[in-house]
């Protein structure tokens, strides 16, 4: 059995054609009928389609009759392509023996892709190099082959040139998978069952569903299983394979990939990377590599209408059923009332959750500016992790502060070395190294505060390098920093939801920028509004918005009452997008748009 199975994933940068290739593989092997064939089948969610990114991976089983005349089962485990989800990528890779590295023939290899390839190599995966989009006019197949050989060590002659769009080279890829990816290791009789969870989602009928790779032993419907991370046990209600539709089977053997439903209520109980074993003859140790994924970016999410608090809680609970890496807990803001502090893997993750809350649950939300988790060491020696600026201790109590740093790898044509370095210096970066990947392409490494790359770093990087730069980063730990809290006041009242933590050298500039921005986005009110920024009791910036003087329909007679009332209704609707704070109405976007300062 095992020798006919090949488990593989696809590593590719966004837009390099991963989804198109996956579609072609499915089409070629008949996993999808022509009728079902629609572009990019694997990317299910609307959001993914819109943003052109893959967030969730979905495994697919392909039945392939190879040139040797034998039938193979190829399990394709798709991977997300964004740095926010690198742990999920690592667990998907851990479920495979091989990976296709797909590189765009005119773009070349990107930093994020490189990071994932190294991850796959660390897991001893067989890497099959594929150059896609060879039909495009700008294709530089030979040059990219050389880079792949130099940087990753793939022999040039083994790299497969394809055009997923035109369907060229698809069979060669399938053959390479069969011939070069090793089959899963042989199961030993009687060994305890172990299965790796590499993804999960919530199905309203069957509960939490996990995607698993059976690593050892065999799992059957009806058996009792145990999650090794938390020790909870369940009875297997259904197991099956995805071909690509869910197809129940009686059992899954070592080496096989499929799904499992066991009446589990919460995806938090089936954590990605966890090991499933059986209650009878359990494995002694879990599979390596499991870790608790900790959110690194936090923000407050509040219902615009305070009465929607419970509805928001329900929506968050439902979403977290589907996404164990997203956390939330209730919090309370003087300005905004009751809401939730939510933790995310990164800004994209935040944006996805926020959009899903609004689209799928019809919530009208207000989001506060995202922040990282700071470590504050108090004068009495205790340490505090601060993920909400409002919990920042008084200056007198602070001994020193640390903030999370990342090691950023930026790949760029050498013409832009200066631009990249300048940007990194502006963002408080420390240069680490620079290496040439080929004669005209370099990888520059910098140590940077996470908070600096969160907001607009990537956009700035793209614009200063005319789109050529690519970025990858990993968190490397906490380092000491001169940070302070800045409060924003409206008519003398601190608006807690607008407080932020900033490096002391940037505090004045940023405070002035935010105050000016708020002046622009808060509409005139019935009263004058004074906007101030303060460090402690010291005001460091001030602007004011004059009181509204005119809001009148001068002419209103019989013929136009209906139309004039529509204007009033529009005005009433507009108020729904405002948050009343004290006597000031603040547009809900104010809380997040203060982030977009540097773009102006």
């Amino acid at each position: 059995m095992q020798e006919k199975i090949r488990n593989f994933s696809i590593i590719a940068h966004i837009d390099h054609g991963k989804s198109t290739l996956a579609d072609r593989l499915m089409q070629f092997t008949g996993a999808l009928t022509e009728r079902e064939m629609r572009d990019q089948y694997l990317d299910k969610m609307d959001l993914e389609r819109e943003k052109g990114i893959t967030i969730k991976l979905q495994p697919v089983r392909l039945n392939y009759k190879a040139r040797d005349g034998r039938d193979y089962i190829l399990n394709l485990i798709d991977t997300p392509g964004h740095v926010d989800f690198s742990y999920e990528v690592s667990r998907s890779l851990a479920a495979c023996e091989g990976a296709l590295l797909v590189v765009d023939a005119s773009q070349g290899i990107e930093a994020q892709t490189l990071a994932n390839v190294y991850m796959a190599m660390d897991l001893n995966l067989e890497i099959i190099g594929v150059i896609n989009k060879i039909d495009l006019p700008g294709a530089e197949v030979q040059k990219i082959k050389e880079v792949m050989e130099n940087v990753i060590g793939l022999p040039e002659e083994e790299i497969i040139p394809i055009s997923a769009k035109l369907g060229q080279g698809i069979e060669e890829v399938l053959e390479a998978i069969v011939q070069r990816v090793p089959p899963p290791p042989l199961a030993e009789k009687g060994e305890p069952m172990q299965a790796l969870i590499f993804d999960s989602y919530f199905d309203s009928y069957r509960g939490a569903i996990s995607y698993i790779r059976v690593v050892a032993g065999e799992i059957k419907k009806g058996e009792m299983i145990k999650m090794m991370a938390n020790g909870k046990s369940y009875e297997v209600a259904e197991i099956g394979v995805l071909s690509p539709h869910m197809t129940p089977v009686e059992s899954l053997q070592a080496g096989e990939v499929g799904y499992l439903a066991a009446g589990i209520k919460n995806v938090a109980d089936i954590k990605v990377g966890d090991t499933i074993t059986k209650t009878i003859n359990p494995a002694l140790k879990p599979l390596p590599g499991y870790k608790e994924v900790k959110p690194v970016v936090f923000c407050g999410i509040y219902p615009l209408d305070n009465n929607d608090f419970e509805r928001l809680r329900e929506a968050l609970e439902k979403l977290s059923l589907n996404d164990a890496s997203f956390v939330f807990e209730p919090e309370n803001s003087v300005a905004l009332g009751f809401g939730f502090r939510c933790g995310f893997l990164g800004l994209l993750h935040l944006e996805i959750i926020r959009e899903r809350l609004e689209r799928e649950y019809g919530m009208n939300l207000l989001t506060t500016a995202p922040s990282v988790v700071f470590k504050v060491v108090l004068t009495n020696g205790t340490e505090m992790m601060v993920q909400n600026p409002n919990l920042w201790p008084a200056t007198a109590k602070i001994d020193h502060v640390l903030e999370p740093y990342v090691k950023a790898s930026i790949m760029v044509p050498e013409d832009f070395i200066g631009a990249v370095m300048q940007l990194c210096q502006e963002k408080r970066g420390d240069f680490i190294t620079m290496e040439y990947l080929s004669t005209d392409r370099v990888i520059i490494k910098y140590r940077l505060p996470l908070v600096e790359i969160l907001y607009d770093f990537f956009d700035a990087l793209k614009s200063r390098t005319r789109g050529y730069a690519s970025l990858d980063y990993e968190i490397i730990g906490y380092f000491r920093s001169e940070l302070m809290k800045v409060d924003i006041l409206l008519n003398g009242e601190i608006i807690d939801a607008l407080s932020f933590i900033v490096h002391s050298e940037k505090s004045y500039h940023r405070a002035r920028g935010i105050v000016a921005k708020l002046r622009k986005i808060i509409p005139r009110q019935m009263y004058e509004v004074v906007i101030q920024a303060a460090v402690g009791s010291r005001i460091i910036a001030r602007e004011s918005i004059k009181a509204m003087r005119k809001d009148v329909i001068a002419k209103c007679y019989g013929g136009d009452i209906t139309r004039k009332k529509k204007l009033l209704e529009k005005q009433k609707e507009g108020k729904k997008k405002m948050k009343q704070i004290g006597n000031v109405e603040v547009p809900r976007d104010a809380f997040i748009s203060v982030l977009e300062l540097d773009n102006e």
């Binding site: 019935m526 004059k546 509204m548 003087r549 005119k550 809001d551 009148v552 329909i553 001068a554 002419k555 209103c556 007679y557 019989g558 013929g559 009452i561 209906t562 009332k565 204007l567 009033l568 209704e569 005005q571 009433k572 108020k575």
Partner: protein, 313 residues
């Protein structure tokens, strides 16, 4: 503009068939260019007893900017003709907030208007409706619109001037000599029923607002064919919407609305139904109340949308 014989033909059956009150108000709206003594006398004979003139301004620059065809002297001549014809009851429309208008420009317009002794004046803030040539010129930056602080000053100081000259301010944009309130317009602000005849005229009957067919040909064809007006429904209001409508229209009057009248007409005490809204608005100094009436404050006139939208259902 209708010929005086057409007006006569229009009014004759109404005067004949309906028992009109001796105080009936029959107003003709006109542009100063279109009236002369002879015409006014003919219209008076046909039954017109009140005229409303679209004077807008007494300055050539402003009239041109507004796209008006008449000249300041046309307005003087027409008012003179009204006096000669013995028409005492007439209104002048004026516009303020015209691009580049100064306070002295506006004051001069007001003075000239008052000198003509109209018993009624409508003073409107210029609204550059989207798509009009004026709005386009403003968008192109050809003219500089006044800022809202200036518009507000022109409004309140203008009202003050008119009141000093014996005019009573009775609706956001309307003033009159005592006893000369526009009876026709009060129907709208009192949320009473009205019947609109003719193409694109609006009617409000019961809880339904309708508008007649816009095309004159189609309107006439339907009236001749079936004896009915072809009309579209603009609004069908439930009880709450009717009450809100009456409040919003009623609060346009400086006298405000009567709680007793609302109880009588709608079975609703406004103070009960809108207690929280009214409390907020009082706090903002936009309305005042006593046991009988709810009124907009002077501050509230120019901010009245802030009051009105809060009453929408």
């Amino acid at each position: 503009m209708l010929h005086e014989r057409q007006v006569e033909a229009l009014l004759e059956p109404i005067i004949k068939e309906c028992s009109l009150s001796p105080q009936v108000e029959i107003t003709m709206e006109a542009n100063p260019l279109n009236l002369d003594l002879q015409k006014i006398e003919a219209l008076k004979l046909a039954g017109i007893n009140r005229f409303s003139l679209g004077v807008q301004s007494f300055q050539l620059r402003e009239l041109e900017l507004l796209g008006r065809m008449h000249k300041p002297e046309d307005a003087f001549a027409t008012v003179e003709a009204l006096h000669q014809a013995g028409i005492r009851n007439f209104n002048l429309d004026l516009i303020y907030g015209i691009p580049n208008q100064s306070w002295l420009d506006w004051l001069s317009n007001l003075k000239k208007a008052v000198d003509l002794a109209p018993p009624h004046l409508s003073v409107y803030l210029l609204q550059a409706e989207p798509g009009t040539p004026l709005a386009q010129s403003l968008d192109r930056g050809q003219y500089l619109a006044l800022c809202e602080d200036e518009e507000e000053r022109f409004y309140y100081q203008g009202l003050e001037f008119l009141q000093e000259n014996g005019y009573e301010h009775y609706e956001i944009s309307n003033v009159c000599r005592q006893g000369y309130q526009s009876r026709h317009n009060l129907i709208y602000w009192d949320a009473e029923e009205y019947l609109g005849l003719g193409a694109s005229a609006v009617s409000f009957i019961g809880n339904i607002r309708t508008r007649n067919q816009n095309s004159l040909e189609a309107y006439l064809a339907e009236v001749l064919r079936s004896g009915h007006m072809d009309r579209e429904i603009l609004e069908v209001m439930d009880h709450r919407a009717l009450v809100a409508d009456a409040i919003i229209m009623g609060l346009r009057k400086t006298g405000g609305i009567s709680r007793e009248l609302f109880v009588k007409r709608y079975g609703v005490d406004v103070m009960d139904q809108y207690g929280a809204v009214i409390k907020d608005l009082i706090q903002m100094n936009l309305i005042t109340t006593d046991n009988h009436r709810i009124k907009i404050t002077a501050k509230g006139y120019f901010l009245s949308n802030q009051v009105f939208y809060r009453f929408l259902p």
